[in-house]
Amino acid sequence: MWDWGAFLHYLHNGYLLKGAGVTLALSLACLAIGLVCGTVAALMRMSPRPYLNKPAAFYIWLMRGTPVLVQLIIIYTGLPQLGIRFNVIESCLLGLGLNEGAYLAEIIRAGVLSVAKGQFDAARSVGMTHAMTMRIIVLPQAMRVIIPPLGNTFNSLLKTTSLASVISMEELLRRTEVLIQVQFKVLEIFIVAALYYLVMTTIWGFIQERLEAHFSRSHAPATARGAPASNGARAEIEKVLLSHDAQ
């Protein structure tokens, strides 16, 4: 029997809400770690120097080629055998963060490769160093290509953190299971947990939309920004681009 009273009760249950908060915090922390690792790995992977690109390629290959659940268990349960001990939170940050970084590395690399080669030439010609070129010119333009898949991986990450329950991280799923063991309202409590996940991913969806609009503002239709660009000008640009392609 479905118990509406129990459902509504657990809908604003402090214990579960805290679990959702941990899920959110863990996801954000792993995204931050992933962005740092991913950017470094992507830049290394694009380097012509083997001592930079080989380790980056190995990292990406290893992380994307094994299940994150296995990685988490190896880090938390396996490594102590070698005398390397991480607590639950450290293990989660390490496992999920490094895994996220490997996926983001490939996304960031694709974004950078999408930036026209002429942008590098132009940045270098006005006296920017390689690092400045990347930071000021290339990465901001790459964001337009990076944001949509990055948003998708963060959506996955919000849900993937549930795997951390296996190594007893007190996030939403773990707390759901603990609660069920004492309350036995399996369906009601799980539906509440599912709703929490849904709320988080939905809010993220809105944020992602705003980010996408922000980073493609220089490509939005001219009229939407109220800037006068005649159809004639557009047609001319297209002509120029087409004639360039034809060469």
Partner: protein, 276 residues
């Protein structure tokens, strides 16, 4: 004193603005530049013509080290590009130092290459602010002056995508000038433009040359060359085939290859002259 007199006076004492000595460049098995030597005086405008694939764009790119020459050297106003002398040996400069030296040159590209995520004004101010550490206000004042000079003051908040090709190229010239370069390099600046926009860009270039800017211009615009150039150079097969003053270069070339090339170009491109 006319400009050509000034150029002669400047070169008489060996005061070259730009010296390129025996430049070689390979791309894999291709020997693209086979020893190009060129000396350019302060205020001189050199137009480089030649068939595509002949090495003229690559030569231009070796001058500001966008391509590193495999052999040979470049000096700007007496300063060696990319190297410094230390203990009797030439030592390669770091990326940061080479980047500083690149600011001796302003470069304008065939495809404009404006920074597509920045407005016209930001395109001009970004390098002075970030690379040159000029104050923001000062950079903006200078950028507005340059925008006015290229006739695009009202477009300062437009993104490149909203501008016509001719407008983008004029902004690109302003961007290059913002770094107060000693030499301006133009790599086929009008080749990607619709015919009706060519003259607005050439007009800006002509004004620059009249203002005494030292310029190396790779172009097929023979009309511009006749009007603005002090010297015309034909590069083909990675070498300088012929060079001379435009009056004789275009009407009475001495080399067969120059004659063949000019015939082809003049058939397709009638002279497009800006109204002086």
């Amino acid at each position: 004193m006319t400009r050509s007199d000034a150029i002669k006076a400047g070169t008489a004492n060996g005061g070259w603005m730009l010296e390129a000595e025996n430049i070689h460049k390979h791309f894999g098995p291709l020997h693209v530049l086979k020893g190009i030597t060129m000396r350019i005086a302060k205020g001189e405008v050199v137009v480089v013509v030649g068939p595509s694939g002949g090495g003229k764009s690559t030569f231009l790119r070796t001058l500001n080290l966008l391509e590193k020459p495999d052999q040979g050297w470049v000096k700007v106003d007496g300063v060696m590009m990319g190297y410094e002398q230390a203990n009797q040996r030439m030592v390669e400069l770091s990326d940061a130092r080479v980047s500083q030296q690149r600011r001796f040159f302003g470069m304008v590209f065939q495809q404009f290459n404006l920074f597509s995520h920045l407005t016209a004004l930001e395109n001009i101010t970004v390098a002075p602010i970030k690379a040159l550490k000029v104050g923001r206000t000062e950079a903006i004042v200078e950028a507005r002056r340059l925008l006015a000079m290229v006739g695009l003051s009202e477009k300062e908040n437009a993104y490149p995508e909203q501008l016509s090709g001719g407008q983008q190229q004029r902004i690109a010239i302003a961007r290059a000038l913002a770094l107060k370069p000693k030499v301006m390099l133009f790599d086929e600046p009008t080749s990607a433009l619709d015919p009706e926009m060519v003259s607005e860009v050439l007009k800006v270039m002509l004004d620059l040359s009249k203002g005494g800017m030292t310029m190396v211009v790779v172009t097929h615009e023979i009309g511009f060359a006749r009007m603005a150039a002090d010297r015309a150079v034909l590069i083909d097969g990675g070498v300088i085939v012929e060079e001379g003053p435009p009056e004789t270069f275009f009407s009475a070339p001495t080399q067969d290859r120059t004659r063949q090339f000019l015939n082809k170009v003049l058939d397709f491109h009638g002279p497009t002259l800006p109204k002086a």
